[in-house]
């Protein structure tokens, strides 16, 4: 029993980690980034290259790739997203436009990765050592993902709710039209949020690459999972993403252990549907 709880939380940590970036991009910048999973995969490949050719430890690679993810996302926002934001008459239009544009972005990133690395399976081994947690054995790399998701989630919550900067971001998320009346630069806030999301995708990619086999075209799986977690947790809510991610991890593990591993996907979608029936805006969503 305890073993399954530990395994479920560790698995859920990964889900939470990859979903937090998407929830910030969606909630604050109002951009439904369908290329999110491919950004994660790009980070996976970058980590792989750093590790195998330059022997750079993936934990050290975090220090390179997370800022890189931030900067690249910042540029993407300035070049591709800003014109959309500028011309969108309302939030709904921006969401639809951003879905279309990032759908294109998905294929651009995928195409570049396919050209550079081909379609083959890529994997390496790092930190695949057993760690004893409350009597059950988990892999150190997955534990790292869990710890990182809690730490990053915690830091983000503190920043969003306890700093002025976080308040500005929240103001933009809550009332994008009224925020400028208080002297808030909404464009800058949205850009920052989008870039933070990119940095989180890079973090997720680095960690995921430590334990999972990836291919250039596997991004859509991550986008799907992250999307479920984001909607389940309530869009834009970082605590929601963490809770929903951990919840999904627990559900999958318990179903695999006590019912049937074949029903894990079905269980995830059942929870998804059931929760949305009760709380249409997600666990932490505003009604």
């Amino acid at each position: 029993m305890l073993e399954h709880v530990v395994n479920g939380l560790v698995l859920g940590g990964t889900y939470a980690l990859v979903a937090m970036g998407l929830t910030i991009q969606y909630g604050i910048a109002r951009i439904m980034n369908l290329g999110f999973g491919d950004t994660i995969i790009a980070a996976c490949f970058a980590t792989f290259v750093l590790f195998t050719t330059l022997s750079i430890n993936p934990t050290v690679a975090l220090l390179i790739l997370v800022p890189a993810g931030y900067l690249i996302s910042d540029v993407i926002y300035r070049v591709i997203m800003k014109p959309l934001v500028a011309r969108a008459p309302d939030e709904g239009a921006l969401e639809v436009d951003s879905i279309l544009v990032t759908f294109g972005l998905l294929f651009v990133i995928q195409g570049v990765l396919l050209t550079l690395f081909g379609g083959g399976y890529t994997s390496y081994t790092f930190l695949n050592t057993p760690v004893n947690v409350l009597g059950s054995v988990v892999a150190a790399n997955r534990l790292l993902a869990f710890v990182l998701s809690l730490v990053i989630g915690g830091v983000l919550v503190v920043v969003l709710f306890r700093t002025r900067w976080g308040m500005i971001l929240r103001a933009v998320a809550l009332a994008p039209k009224s925020a400028p009346l208080f002297g808030i630069d909404t464009d800058r806030a949205a850009r920052t949020a989008f870039a933070i999301g990119g940095a989180m995708a890079a973090t997720g990619g680095v960690v995921v690459s430590m334990f999972q086999t990836f291919t250039a075209t596997a991004g859509v799986v991550f986008t799907m999972k992250a999307l479920i977690v984001v909607i389940l947790g309530g869009k834009g809510s970082v605590p929601g993403a963490v809770v929903a991610g951990l919840l999904l991890g627990l559900v999958e593990t318990f179903v695999a252990a006590y019912i049937d591993p074949g029903l894990t996907l079905a269980a995830v979608y059942t929870v998804f549907l059931a929760l949305l029936l009760v709380r249409p805006n997600g666990i932490f969503g505003k009604a």
Partner: protein, 412 residues
């Protein structure tokens, strides 16, 4: 009356002249075309993107590229008259979609009018294109496709050829190894088995259930998992709880790699550890951190077969990486057979198909490779990592196979 008669005769004459002229022109064009043939066109649709891209990129595409390069470097395909024609290739990405692969093959046959079509990757996709290949009369050398129904398919599509055997072949050969081990008292009669809920896993596990039951084994854990599964810690701990000495996973590469890593972490190392696709990939030892000794899977090679080791060296030289230890060599051999058939009978598709089903060929599999009822039967069914190579094994060894070495040592 006379006038109209003569008019009719004139008209008939003119028509005849036109017809003769048209015929002459047509023959001339064909003649010109035959004379002007300066290449042979091959086409194929393969998964360059989507979930099948990984498997196609490992087993099929590199061999197509290697073979075309080798043939063209030698001056082209040899024709019966001794002349050589270079190969030109048209490639489409099927994006791992069954509709797309069918559309692409239809296009190759009707619009591009290629001389030969090479098959796509995967059992499902080969079945999807089989009716089309047969309809247009193309020899269908289904390489990366495992199916028990090959004997039926051969009846239905007589220009189809199946190179990878059926699920029952693999599970029966594996059961023979297990029976010998059980009789020697090295393993108990329990098997824990998992399978991916997708083409390969469904097919293999169906055959395995029957085979294991017939062999008197108790399948103490038998679960399927969705293809998206990436975490196997729970499944492995449940399997370990059943105290089975044999663990079997009919898995695709991402699962195979994840299972290996997870089994290492949880020190799960039963005497028999058998995994699906991916365990025979050259990158597997790196993924397992080097400790792959004793891991079993489908396929395997005979390290003493010089033809095979030459092929492996050539593959590594041209493609930049080694081929896998299961399907690659079969795909390459099927291309060699096609090449030799063309050399013997020319570019007529029906004649090539006939030659393929009745001829004897010299391939990387051996100097006398031939098909039985359009199927390749002389292939390796069970492999095991032994001293850094994934070798073909059987219970006692012999006939190109090594003796199996069990129990599998621990992971470190």
């Amino acid at each position: 009356m006379k006038n109209s008669l003569s008019k009719a005769a004139r008209r008939a004459r003119r028509l005849t002249t036109c017809a003769v002229a048209a015929l002459a022109l047509a023959v001339g064009v064909i003649g010109v075309e035959a004379q002007a043939r300066d290449k042979v066109t091959f086409g194929y649709a393969i998964s360059k993107s989507g979930p099948n891209a990984g498997g196609a990129d490992m087993t099929v595409t590199p061999n197509y590229e290697l073979w075309v390069k080798e043939v063209n470097d030698a001056g082209g395909l040899k024709m019966p008259d001794g002349s050589r024609l270079p190969i030109e290739v048209i490639v489409y990405d099927d994006r791992s979609s069954a509709e797309e692969v069918v559309r692409a093959v239809e296009r190759l046959a009707t619009q591009d009018k290629v001389d030969f079509i090479l098959p796509p990757w995967g059992t499902g996709f080969n079945l999807a294109v089989a009716p089309l290949m047969s309809k247009f009369g193309y020899p269908h050398l289904a390489g990366a496709a495992v199916t028990d129904k090959a004997p039926d398919f051969v009846k239905r599509w007589d220009t189809s050829f199946w190179f990878m055997g059926g699920s029952v072949d693999y599970t029966a050969a594996f059961a023979d190894v297990l029976i010998a081990e059980r009789e020697a008292g090295r393993i108990n009669g329990k098997i824990a088995m998992i399978s991916v809920a997708d083409g390969f896993g469904i097919d293999l596990v169906k055959a395995a259930r029957e085979t294991f039951e017939k062999a008197g084994f108790e399948v103490s854990y038998d679960k399927t998992f969705p293809p998206q599964t990436s975490d196997f810690s729970t499944i492995l701990s449940e399997a370990a709880n059943t105290k089975a000495d044999t663990f079997v996973a009919f898995s695709y590469p991402p699962h195979t790699f994840a299972l290996t890593k997870q089994a290492k972490v949880s020190s799960f190392s039963p005497p028999v550890f058998y995994l699906g696709v991916g365990a025979g990939f050259p990158i597997y030892p790196k993924i397992a951190g080097g400790s792959v000794e004793g891991v079993m899977s489908l396929g395997g090679i005979d390290p003493n077969n010089k033809l095979n080791s030459d092929y492996r060296a050539k593959h590594e030289e041209v493609i930049g990486r080694a081929p896998d230890y299961w399907g690659s060599v079969l795909i390459y051999a099927s291309l060699q057979m096609l090449e030799q058939s063309i050399e013997r009978v020319g570019l007529d598709k029906a004649a090539v198909a006939k030659e393929l089903s009745s001829g004897t060929f010299s391939t990387v599999l051996g100097a006398e490779t031939r098909l039985e009822n359009n199927q390749l039967r002389a292939i390796n069914w069970v492999g095991q990592w032994q001293d850094g190579q994934f070798v073909a094994v059987s219970a006692k060894g012999g006939a190109g196979t090594a003796a199996v070495k069990l129990p599998k040592p621990g992971w470190d």
